[in-house]
């Protein structure tokens, strides 16, 4: 069964501060909502120790500028109900090639 994803209010404010183009913002939503929840064990990289959570990283090319790559990483915890993934932190940078 796919997991549910929840996001900390702080991460929400952080995403807002990134000023992402609409298509990229929708893609982030898609990745967290549909990609991550399918076999999260294959998507997540472990941190150092159980209290440090897991990490989900992905990149995407800007559809309006193919030389711009948007790179993301999110810290994610499994909830004890084993049905929920909680996103607790996130980092973003755009790179130009």
């Amino acid at each position: 069964m796919p997991y549910k994803v929840r996001i900390a209010g702080l991460v929400l404010r952080r995403i807002h501060s990134w000023g992402l183009p609409d298509a990229v913002l929708v893609e982030v939503h898609l990745r967290l909502r549909e990609r991550l929840v399918q076999q999260p064990a294959l998507q997540l990289v472990s941190g150092d120790g159980p209290d440090r959570g897991m990490f989900y990283t992905f990149a995407m090319i800007d559809p309006d500028n193919r030389l711009c790559v948007h790179q993301f990483a999110f810290q994610v915890f499994y909830e004890t109900d084993e049905e929920t993934l909680s996103v607790t932190s996130g980092v973003y940078q755009r790179y130009f090639y």
């Binding site: 929840r6 898609l30 959570g53 990283t57 990149a59 990483a73 909680s86 980092v91």
Partner: protein, 188 residues
């Protein structure tokens, strides 16, 4: 760990070298100080904002491109270096009245450099991706405390639309960018 990056070492050693120069400068008599190369010490401090920004960018690369998951430690390490830089700048700026004689040799720029560093420090404090540590109990308490939002609610709020519009946009996005289903890595 994170403090072994080349740029961290360069930044730390640079600050230390300037500190030694400063201490040496203070060690001489007030009369002798005028003969010392104070403008050179000021110019060295002017490099701090650029050095701190390079370290900041390097840490972002560490987190995003090289899989370093010690986000909090990296941020703390950066703030520690910036704090040392600011303390040294402040110390140099307080070298009145001798510095006052050097205002034409970088003193004003040093005030500006100090403001730049303070801005970087505030940016890091506000926007750094501080990674949380949670025990299962702490995470449960945060959940019950209402710290988390459903992903659809959250993005609907971010985009300023209702859920129906949000899901329509999502489907439209998938048709446009992922017509063959699934999400291709590196391509929106």
């Amino acid at each position: 760990m994170m403090s072994t990056t080349v740029l961290y070492q360069i930044s730390s050693e640079y600050v230390e070298a300037v500190r030694r120069a400063y201490e040496g400068w203070r060690g001489v008599s007030p009369e002798g100080r005028r003969a010392q190369d104070l403008p050179d010490l000021i110019r060295a401090c002017l490099e701090f904002p650029a050095a701190a920004q390079r370290l900041h960018d390097s840490y972002y690369d560490q987190m995003l491109l090289f899989g370093n998951t010690h986000w909090t430690e990296l941020g703390e390490s950066l703030l520690a270096v910036v704090a040392e830089m600011l303390a040294l700048q402040k110390a140099v700026l307080e070298l009145e009245p001798v510095v006052a004689e050097q205002r034409g040799n970088g003193w004003n720029q040093l005030c500006e450099a100090q403001r730049s560093l303070e801005e970087l420090r505030e940016k890091v404090r506000d926007l750094w991706p501080w990674a949380k540590t949670y025990t299962a109990e702490e995470l449960r308490a945060a959940t019950q405390g209402g710290d988390f939002r459903d992903v659809d609610d959250a993005f609907a709020e971010l985009m300023g639309v209702d859920q129906e519009t949000l899901l329509k946009r999502l489907e439209e996005h998938k048709r446009r960018y992922h017509p063959r289903q699934g999400v291709d890595r590196d391509a929106v």
